[in-house]
Subunit: 84 residues, 2 copies
DNA sequence: TGAATATTTAGATATTTGTCTAAATACCTA
DNA sequence: TAGGTATTTAGACAAATATCTAAATATTCA
C-alpha cells in the first residue's frame, strides 16, 4: 500500500491515471499530454507500474498502458476505516 | 488535495492518524508511540496540520491533537471517480 | 539490411524529504 | 521569579525524488 500512496503523491501521475481512465494509451500518447520529457513520463509510468496502478502490454513498437484500479480498494478501505 | 496526498505518503504519519482515531493525544503522547525524536514527530504533525488532517489545541503546557477526516472526502471522491 | 520510430535505461543535477541535535519558547508550580 | 516540563524552531545532513540529455534497445518496413 506504501507504493500506491507513493505513486498517488504526484500531480503528473494522478493525471496519467485520469487519462487512462478514458482509454488505453501508448507511452508516447501519454507523453504528448504533458510538457515534460518522454524519459520522465516513462519514469512516472514505471512508478505507477510498481504500484500496480497500471499494466502495460507491448503491441508492436508501442507499449500500451491500461489503468488498474483494483489496488485502490486497499486505499479506500484504509481511508474509510479512518473515517468510521 | 495535493497536501493531503503528500501527508498520507508516509508510514509514520499514517500511524499517527490511526492513533488519533482512537482518541485525542498530546504531542508527547504521540511521540512516545514511535522510536523517532520528538522534533521529528513535531514535524510530521506540522505536515498533517498543513493538510488539515489534524487540528491542535493548546491545553496548558500540552498541545492536544485531534483527527479531522473531513478532508479525506475529496480523496475518496477522487479515487471513486477513477474507479467508476 | 538499414533507416525511422517508440520506448527505456543511464547518468547527472537540483529540490524535497525525513531525520537528528541543540536551542528557543511557552506554560506551570513551588 | 526560578526551575521543570512540553513543544516547536533552527540548522545540518543523508537519502529520495523529479527532471533533463544522451545513449541503448526494440520494432517496423522500404
Amino acid at each position: 500500500m506504501n507504493k500506491v500512496f507513493r505513486a498517488l503523491n504526484d500531480q503528473t501521475r494522478r493525471e496519467i491515471l485520469k487519462l487512462l481512465k478514458e482509454k488505453d494509451l501508448s507511452a508516447g500518447e501519454i507523453a504528448e499530454a504533458f510538457q515534460i520529457s518522454k524519459p520522465s513520463i516513462s519514469h512516472h509510468l514505471d512508478i505507477l507500474s510498481q504500484a500496480d496502478l497500471v499494466t502495460s502490454e507491448k503491441k508492436g513498437q508501442f507499449v500500451i498502458y491500461s489503468l488498474n484500479t483494483t489496488v485502490l480498494d486497499d486505499i479506500l478501505e484504509w481511508i474509510i476505516t479512518l473515517k468510521t
